[in-house]
């Protein structure tokens, strides 16, 4: 037990050291500053994927996270551009806005199960895109551009985060922001899953009828999980808008929604850290295959099919298998 605990703490410390010290050091010594952008994307996508993973955990296939990422991006962009809000304030507001929207959307659709829920969520992303095209406030297909970089964040006159525009290396700043949020997000997820709430979510996943017969308010719990999921989607979308300093209706499409889901599948639906690993592997895997030119998509999808056949429980099930053998 204590050994297990020490191992866990060591793993967390090692992970934090890698993302906050080793990676920035390696990048600055190699001069590959473009990797910051890649890794920032991975961190943000893994936050959105973590949300999707949570809906899987209550037994729902969610192919609609792109809708909330888009919504979060627009909420943040509009508040910054039209109302002069600080980016730092729009970040939680974008998340909460998405969570509130997901409660309204979730109440009716979370009654659906299996492929029916999946289909409705798939449509959600498309609805979000069309809404962004049609609404006057989102500025149609032209999108919202030239969003200023995040300003300084100070509490009681103490500057905690400097103005990104004054930084020499805003890429590093975004990287640190994204990674910090990712760490927080997965810490929250880990705690959720390993507390009684995780067991309740599993009870929904395994048998909703029985869960309600033992007094679990399944409708309430489903909506809560979906709201947390959408919160993560919104936050991740808001930062994406800030990094690219723009947001368009096509910033998040059905493909993104599908990718969020694939990230979860690839990492493993039974493991909290599955979406993080899945996002990393998928993102870099796709980039590596770039050299294969027009065969990129063919090889990529072929590999995904093979992986799902061979490792239906995701990449992290490999680690468990070797541990059991050893």
């Amino acid at each position: 037990m204590t050994l297990n605990r020490t191992m866990k703490i060591a793993a967390v410390v090692a992970f934090l050291a890698i993302v906050f010290v080793v990676v920035p050091a390696a990048i600055s010594s190699s001069g590959r500053f473009d990797l910051y952008y890649t890794l920032t994307s991975v961190a943000l996508l893994s936050i959105a994927s973590a949300g999707v993973w949570l809906t899987f955990y209550i037994g729902r296939i969610n192919i609609g996270q792109g809708a909330y990422a888009l919504m979060g991006g627009y909420v943040s962009a509009i508040l910054v551009m039209n109302h002069g809000w600080s980016f730092w304030l729009t970040l939680p507001v974008a998340g909460l806005f998405c969570a509130a929207a997901s409660v309204l959307i979730g109440l009716p659709i979370l009654r659906l199960r299996g492929v029916y829920f999946a289909m409705v969520t798939l449509v959600l992303t498309e609805v979000a895109r069309l809404l962004a095209l049609a609404l006057p406030i989102t500025n149609g297909a032209k999108g919202i551009v030239s969003i200023p970089l995040p300003g300084a964040l100070s509490i009681f006159g103490l500057t905690i985060i400097p103005d990104f525009a004054t930084l020499q290396n805003s890429r590093l700043a975004f990287y640190l922001l994204a990674v910090t949020l990712m760490v927080v997000c997965f810490a929250v997820m880990y705690r959720l899953v390993n507390s009684r709430i995780g067991k309740l979510c599993q009870s929904l996943q395994q048998n909703e009828e029985l869960a309600s017969s033992i007094g679990v308010n399944i409708a309430y719990l489903r909506v809560i999980a979906y709201a947390v999921s959408s919160f993560f989607g919104g936050v991740s979308g808001a930062i994406f808008a800030a990094i690219s300093q723009s947001i368009y209706p096509s910033s998040f499409t059905v493909t993104d929604s599908v990718n969020f889901m694939l990230n979860c599948f690839l990492g493993g639906l039974g493991y909290v850290f599955g979406p993080m690993l899945g996002t990393l592997v998928l993102y870099f895997g796709w980039d590596l295959l770039f050299q294969t030119g027009r065969f990129q998509l063919l090889i990529y999808s072929g590999l995904m099919i093979v992986l799902m056949l061979v490792l239906p429980n995701g990449l992290l099930s490999l680690a468990e298998m070797t541990r059991k053998k050893g």
């Binding site: 705690r191 959720l192 507390s195 009684r196 709430i197 067991k199 309740l200 599993q202 009870s203 395994q206 048998n207 009828e209 029985l210 309600s212 017969s213 033992i214 007094g215 679990v216 308010n217 399944i218 409708a219 719990l221 809560i224």
Partner: protein, 259 residues
């Protein structure tokens, strides 16, 4: 004995079909009452009406005077009416012990957020649930299987686990849906013993069942349904002698084919 559960004039229509037609009866405290009837008599529908899995078309069910029909299942459970399932309905990918622990949900004093933060109340809940789960497992003879994944259990133990889950909610009345279905003689006798032990612990039990010998052995009183209507009510010996019941079960084909 005081009345625990009161079913009054309950009717359920599915389109043109009247599945349960104006049925009334009551269950007394610490009683074992069985609802029997031929296939399609409306037993399962009645069962779902009592546990609020279905809303009645008319009529209502009261527990200690408080209406519990037409609500949601989790609210009926909160008020003390908890059902088990006909099929082997369990959380199949959890351990046996976790199945019972999770079923203590209604006894939790901490909020969801409290469990997330790991507050003192949450820790006390967890400890209490674990202890209570172990007692329930011991009562139902499942202690040796506590750490087994639930889906690996043999049939008889699965049914016991279903009851353990129901018990964990600390119900006033436990509804057992065909607890003896698919069991051989020995298993049935063990289950009869188990149900009696539950009653000795002060539980009121309503069961729906096909298995006649077991029902006659275990029940204090019976309610007989046929085509959605109550045709008889009484002690096992009264029911065994009741003309209408015999006709419902044997049918009148004997006359029809001229025997």
């Amino acid at each position: 004995m005081a009345e625990m559960l009161e079913v009054s004039g309950i009717t359920k229509r599915f389109g043109g079909l009247v599945a349960v037609n104006n049925v009334s009866f009551s269950v007394r405290e610490k009683e074992i009452l069985s609802v029997i009837g031929p296939n399609g008599a409306g037993k399962s529908t009645l069962f779902k009406l009592i546990s609020s899995f279905l809303k009645p078309t008319t009529g209502e069910v009261r527990l200690k005077g408080e209406r519990i029909s037409g609500l949601a299942p989790h609210i009926a459970a909160r008020r003390g009416v908890v059902r088990t399932f006909q099929e082997t309905t369990i959380f199949k990918n959890m351990s046996v012990r976790d199945n019972v622990i999770i079923a203590h949900h209604l006894r939790s004093t901490a909020s969801l957020f409290g469990f997330f933060l790991g507050t003192g109340a949450a820790k006390m809940d967890e400890a209490a649930f674990g202890q209570s789960a172990d007692e329930i497992l011991a009562l139902l003879g499942l202690t040796s299987l506590a750490n087994e994944t639930a889906r690996n259990l043999p049939h008889g133990h699965l049914r016991a686990l279903g009851i353990a889950i129901g018990l964990a909610t600390n119900p006033s009345i436990l509804l057992l849906d065909e607890p003896f279905a698919g069991m051989n003689h020995d298993e049935t006798m063990r289950m009869v013993e188990m149900v009696r032990r539950l009653r000795e612990r002060g539980l009121t039990i309503l069961l729906v069942e096909h298995d006649m010998p077991a029902v006659m052995k275990i029940s204090d009183r019976l309610v007989v349904l046929n085509f959605g209507q109550k045709i008889a009510e009484g002690t096992p010996s009264e029911i065994q002698a009741n003309e209408k019941v015999i006709e419902a079960y044997l049918g009148s084909e004997d006359e029809a084919i001229g025997l």
